[in-house]
């Protein structure tokens, strides 16, 4: 690698001028030794550097010349997803979100022989929720606080690195998470906590474009991995705890220009959906789109999910179903036109974001094949919908404790227990917890051979308290809170449930003493990988739920494991590193320190 150490013009001046100079790296600390990649500060012009409103200077170590395979990532490669075991090209593995690897060498017999191959620190605290992307022998890994690393996927050597320097007044409800990049052509795409979407040259790490999605000061952030289909890159926003009106955006992958935006709440009173909100409560209706969607090539449809209406726990001022909160939207990927929607939790008062993972499965219903969507929702029900038209097929309870509803009707509408509504001084114990069930901040997996969805979940109940909600842009707007009674009493626990998509029934459960809040990867070898809040990477038999192997990583498991194969050797990458605030809310708090670390395991031939 050519050594090319330099500091961009204007960096020193802007560092001195910025109020946040203390957060910027010292030039003296930058690695200038032989073999180090190029380092560069922001290429943004120094003009106006005296204004404190300038974004802080990013810090980056570039690779010159570039790294990784020369062939651009083609639409055909993206369509094949994990069919080529050498790569992991999407957050969900493939467009159908199975998170399923064809690697067959990881079997119940072989996984006891797994050993650590390499590891990499993130240098950041906060939950490490990333799902690595692997292409051309390079792993693209994001960390909390929006660092992006390119690593040699075989050895773990750092190849290039970009640290977004974030403002110090971010609007984060739930921590500094970043769940990963999308890849297409010669670029990787990362969305940020200050609501930017940045395209990087995947070989060098240099920024191709940087687009502002929204003003973070209005309550917006982005934590999810983007998704690329064709020439567009899709992302949605978080902000449901700030009343920030949600939306899904599509950007041109070459120019970074906005192609379309679809709002998840009405933007004017003439919108028919406005009738589902009392008065003009839709103006502060939140309904964020904070997780990654799915794509169905068969019908050329983009599916995206929507989170809670705002304020979360006080529905008094927003009587009605509050569309399109807690829904799945079927969208024309080229225009954003909505084809249909299905709402999981109308008039949500519990923070049951409908943002958990969508699995585009082929199910058998009444003896007939159905192109379906399966989703273990945060509200505790496992849904099956016809993905061609959004028709409800069934919902079954997949958590052990579910009290907020007595079931669902023939249209899939929950039969709500009125005593479960938040109260000023609540006494009712309501389940699941506001975090789930399953939650959109971690993934599940699907084994198409067995027809099983693997869903990690929290088992905990809460008392929901209602308070005053007043909307002011950019300020928390929640209207209540959960009393975490089970979590406080040490009664919260975790399940990994294997759910049969053809029946909706749970085939097996793996139990853990603490809530399970980590993603899953399934494999053709019949073994899945996930991690525990105790800080273990674990392997579980996909047929039985039996635990087969573990390795103590140390930090709580909050990330999304993946599997890939290089030179015939399988690799299992598992993030380690929790965030005490949400972990405690879930009942999984511990003395384990924060700090992210990626562990990669392998098998010798």
């Amino acid at each position: 690698m050519v050594v090319n150490f330099r500091i961009a013009p204007g960096v020193a001046a802007s560092v001195a001028a910025l109020a946040l100079a203390a957060a910027a790296p010292s030039v003296a600390e930058t690695p200038a030794s032989s073999g180090a990649p190029a380092i560069e500060g922001s290429s943004a012009p120094a003009a106006g550097a005296g204004a404190v409103s300038l974004p802080p200077t990013p810090t980056a170590w570039y690779a010159d010349p570039g790294v990784g395979a020369a062939a651009p990532v083609s639409p055909d490669m993206l369509a094949k997803g994990t069919e080529d075991p050498a790569g992991w090209l999407h957050y969900g593995g493939g467009y159908r979100n199975f998170r399923y690897s064809p690697v067959s060498s990881l079997t119940p017999a072989s996984v006891p022989h797994l050993h650590a191959a390499w590891s990499a620190p993130t240098g950041t605290t906060g939950q490490f929720e990333g799902s690595p992307i692997v292409y051309g022998g390079v792993m693209y890994l994001t960390t909390s606080y929006d660092r992006l690393f390119a690593l040699d996927a075989k050895t773990g050597r750092f190849l290039w690195r970009y640290d977004v320097q974030l403002p110090d007044d971010l609007r984060l409800c739930c921590g500094p998470a970043n769940r990963g990049v999308a890849i297409a052509g010669d670029h990787v795409f990362m969305a940020t906590l200050d609501a930017h979407l940045i395209a990087f040259d995947r070989r060098t790490g240099r920024v191709a474009w940087n687009t502002t999605i929204a003003n973070y000061k209005d309550g917006y952030s982005v934590t999810s991995a983007p998704l690329v289909v064709g020439g567009l890159v899709y992302t949605g926003v978080a902000g449901g705890e700030f009343g920030a009106p949600g939306f899904v955006d599509a950007y041109d992958i070459v120019t970074g220009k906005l192609a379309w935006r679809i709002n998840t709440v009405p933007t004017d009173a003439a919108d028919p959906a406005a009738k589902t909100w009392a008065g003009d409560s839709w103006k502060s209706g939140g309904s964020p789109a904070w997780t990654t969607g799915a794509y169905d090539a068969g019908t050329d449809t983009l599916f995206w999910t929507v989170g809670n209406p705002s304020p979360d726990w006080n529905g008094d001022k927003r009587a009605g179903d509050n569309l399109y909160s807690d829904s799945v939207l079927a969208l024309d990927p080229h225009t954003g036109r909505m084809k249909w929607h299905f709402q999981f939790t109308p008039h949500d008062m519990w923070d049951y974001d409908g943002n958990t993972q969508l699995f585009l499965v082929d199910a058998m219903v009444g003896g007939k094949p159905v192109k379906a969507i399966a989703q273990p929702d945060r509200n505790g029900f496992f849904y099956l919908l016809d993905r061609s038209n959004g028709h409800f097929i069934r919902a079954t309870q997949y958590v052990e404790q579910l009290t907020w509803a007595k079931g669902v009707d023939a249209q899939g509408r929950p039969i709500v227990d009125p005593t479960a509504a938040p109260q000023e001084n609540p006494t009712a114990r309501v389940c699941p917890s506001n975090l789930g069930g399953m939650n959109g901040s971690w993934s599940g997996a699907y084994d198409p051979k067995q027809g099983l969805v693997f869903a990690p979940s929290i088992e905990a109940c809460q008392e929901y308290v209602k308070g005053i909600a007043v909307y002011v842009k950019g300020v928390p707007f929640m209207g209540g809170m959960p009393n975490t009674v089970d979590a406080d009493a040490g009664k919260a626990y975790g399940l990994l449930s294997a759910i049969d998509v053809n029946t909706g029934q749970v085939k097996w459960r793996y139990r853990d003493p603490r809530p399970m809040m980590s993603g899953v990867v399934a494999t053709a070898g019949g073994v899945l990988f996930t991690s525990t809040m105790e800080g273990e990477a674990i392997a579980v038999d996909q047929a039985t739920g039996k635990r087969l192997w573990s390795f103590r990583m140390g930090g709580s498991g909050r990330g999304q494991p993946i599997v890939y194969q290089i030179d015939g050797k399988p690799y299992v990458a598992v993030p380690s590193g929790g965030w005490s605030s949400i972990d405690t809310l879930a009942g999984a708090g511990s003395m384990q320190p924060e700090g992210g670390h990626l562990f990669v395991f392998s098998l010798d031939p």
């Binding site: 209602k466 300020v475 928390p476 005490s580 708090g589």
Partner: protein
């Protein structure tokens, strides 16, 4: 507890942050430097304390400040003794008004009216589990 008035707060957006005047002069007596009686005016008034609680519940308690003491979390437990940024009523008011840079604590000044910030302070103080000398 008395009945809480759920009516929206009038003129919130236009509310000037009079509390800014408190500035950095901290640790004063019962009387706030903006001329009001600060939290003291509300501490013996159950309806005002109840309103302080309702705003705290609706704004501060969910993903951040918990009602029960637990280890962990980036937001301090506000009913305990260890409150370096809120040792006095006025420090508490100042922290709520201006936020804490580099943390998730945003500035509520101008969003929540000063009177209501004082009611939150009154609620926190009257429910403190920190015993003098304890």
């Amino acid at each position: 507890m008395s009945k809480i008035d759920w009516a929206p707060l009038a003129g919130v957006a236009a509310m000037a942050s009079v509390g800014m005047a408190v500035g950095l002069a901290l640790g004063g007596g019962a009387r706030a430097q903006d001329g009001s009686d600060g939290a003291q005016a509300y501490m013996n008034s159950p309806p005002d304390v109840a309103r302080g609680r309702a705003i705290f519940v609706g704004t501060c308690g969910a993903y951040c400040h918990k009602m029960t003491e637990t280890r962990g979390g980036d937001a301090p437990f506000l009913f305990g003794c260890d409150l370096p940024l809120a040792k006095t009523d006025q420090m508490m008011f100042h922290t709520i008004t201006h936020g804490v840079a580099g943390t998730r604590m945003v500035a509520f000044g101008g969003a929540i009216p000063d009177d209501d910030i004082w009611r939150i302070v009154a609620y926190l103080k009257t429910n403190s589990q920190c015993k003098p000398g304890g």
